[in-house]
Amino acid sequence: MRKLFPALLSLSLGACVPAREVLTVAVALLPGELPAYRSVISEFERETGTRVVVVPQQYADIRRALAAEALAGRGTLDVVELDVYSLAMSARDVAPLDEMALGEALRALSPKALRAGRFDGLRYLPHRISWQALIYNRAALQRAPETWEELLAVAQKHPGQIGIKGALYEGLTCDLLPFVWAAGGSGESFEERGAERALAFLAALAPYLHPQSQVFKEAGIAEAMARGEIVLHLNWPFAMSLFASQGLAPGEIASAPLPRGPSGRATVLGGGYIGIPRSAPHPASALQLAQFLIGRRAQERLRAELGWFSARTDIPVGDGGELLAGFAQMRDEVRPRPERPDYLRLSREWQEAARAVLFEHRDPREVLAAAAQQWRAARRDAP
């Protein structure tokens, strides 16, 4: 009755009866995560006496609602969670946060994670962070490849059993960028040596990929791993929980850090950051809620009940056990994707370049030159 009761009340009795304040928070929750998240929120409700409505929705949809409300100047959302790579895009729609008021809470957060939320002032707080690690079949490989050379050797020994999330979507960029970064590239230019080296390596890997790689996304590739069709791939922590529930981990399937390239190793920062829309109806209470959500108790409960990683330095990654060991080891090598408003288009260019190399077997240098040209043209045309 959270939204209904106040709405009816204010409709029928006008301003005479003060409606109880109701906060609305939009989070990209899977339906299965809803009950646990709601119970964490109810702690806040008990503490402050403010009711909170939790709206589960996809990141793209939350972004759209946010943009629409910002345009209209008024809205229903008090706190929104956005995908970490779209923060730049929506920075104008969220209000800068009062760092003085947040004070204590901010100090516990990892500085790198916090930095990713700054766009002309602090606008976003890390709600949950995530990154990919290498997931491999211990029975088939004994130990995980630690360098690119070893990875290639493994591929040659297990042709058709290497998995890459090759569908035309953001997940492909998340598989590609670690290689670009590990080769010294920045991810923002197609004409760097690092980009060339990364794509050349992928071209070398291409003949050994699983045939379904062209349509693989997170769920599909995890299933292929569970069925034993692939011996390694990159994925997010949820995959390990999936394997654990099927009894495959931590025994047969394990996690490991990504292989090192010529310039070290890195992995892509994922997860969600929360912000307060400019059009939020209750900005003061929204800040309170945001503070609660990054607070120790909430983050600890989210870790325990949903397996989310926290940006707080006083909360370990996973439970320290074997399951997420590979993820924990990469904690300091997590890099955010390029923080720019046109990131989605840049990402799309990378995806197409990667697919051209991986599935059409085109020459990496050619592909990169074409991508660079297209990107220059696009940026010239852009407003």
Binding site: K3, L4, P31, R38, Q57, R64, A68, E69
Partner: protein
């Protein structure tokens, strides 16, 4: 040899097969999630539980979804009727005007929702109607959607009201509007009721516009889609059952009209 019982039995088998998927969803709603994951799947529930409904109740904003679905359906039904009633009456009485109006209905029926929803979303954002908490934008879209259905049903209804009664009223000195209000409308009562319920149902069930125009303030169909597309069978099936109940009630309301063939020709 009595054919009757055999035919009835055959008919029951057909209907059972036809409705089997719905029965299975109902089963999933009342069995624990673990059972829904079992392989091979169970056909008859082993354990019954209300856990899925409890989880649904505590987690999803059901009351708001009902409120929004109901409000939008009611308002678009009112909007549709107020627009379609006079137009249908005109169509029934003036064949020359009927042809272009009917053609317009054909165009409206043939129009793909997505072709409208994308520009509507853009326009509504500018007008502040996108993702409206009371579903204002959706009222407009659903009124548009319901017009062809209401028009056809009402036209059939008015066509069956004998002209002579209206003309008699006119000869007695009544205005055309008065004749319409006091003679035609009461006689077409059942069609109006059927049209109202039909349009309400169309709006209540509608998915495409709801999905595109309401993103965080969602009526029931997009909410169910979210639960089913991204979640596990338990909560989604419970939600499906929850949505079934009012829909079945409305069908029961409509059944006499269905039998009377009032809805024939509306294509719905």
């Amino acid at each position: 040899m009595k054919r009757g019982p055999i035919l009835l039995a055959a008919g029951l088998v057909v209907v059972a097969a036809d409705l089997l998927p719905l029965a299975l969803v109902a089963k999933q709603a009342f069995t624990p999630e673990a059972e829904s994951f079992a392989w091979p799947p169970t056909w008859i529930p082993a354990t019954l539980t209300a856990d899925n409904f409890r989880a649904l109740r505590s987690a999803a904003e059901l009351e708001y979804g009902f409120f929004l679905s109901g409000t939008v359906a009611l308002c678009s039904a009112l909007g549709t009727l107020s627009l379609a009633l006079p137009a249908a009456w005109v169509s029934a009485r003036h064949p020359r005007l009927d042809r272009p109006l009917d053609a317009l209905m054909v165009v409206a029926r043939a129009f793909p929702s997505i072709a409208l929803a994308v520009p509507l979303a853009a326009l509504f954002v500018r007008a502040g109607l996108y993702n409206h908490p009371a579903g204002l934008g959706l009222w407009f879209a659903h009124t548009l959607l319901g017009l062809p259905f209401a028009f056809l049903v009402l036209r059939t209804g008015f066509a069956s009201v004998p002209r002579e009664l209206e003309e008699a009223a006119l000869l007695d000195g009544a205005t055309p509007l008065g004749a319409f209000w006091r003679v035609s409308l009461p006689l077409a009562r059942s069609s109006v009721a059927a049209a109202a319920v039909l349009v309400f149902l169309v709006s209540w069930d509608e998915f495409a516009y709801a999905l595109l125009l309401q993103v965080t303030n969602r009526p029931l169909p997009p909410l169910l889609y979210y639960l089913a597309a991204f979640g596990h069978p338990g909560m989604a099936s419970a939600m499906a059952v929850v949505m079934l109940v009012p829909a079945l009630a409305i069908i029961a309301l409509l059944e006499p009209a269905l039998r009377a063939g009032v809805l024939a020709g509306s294509g719905r």
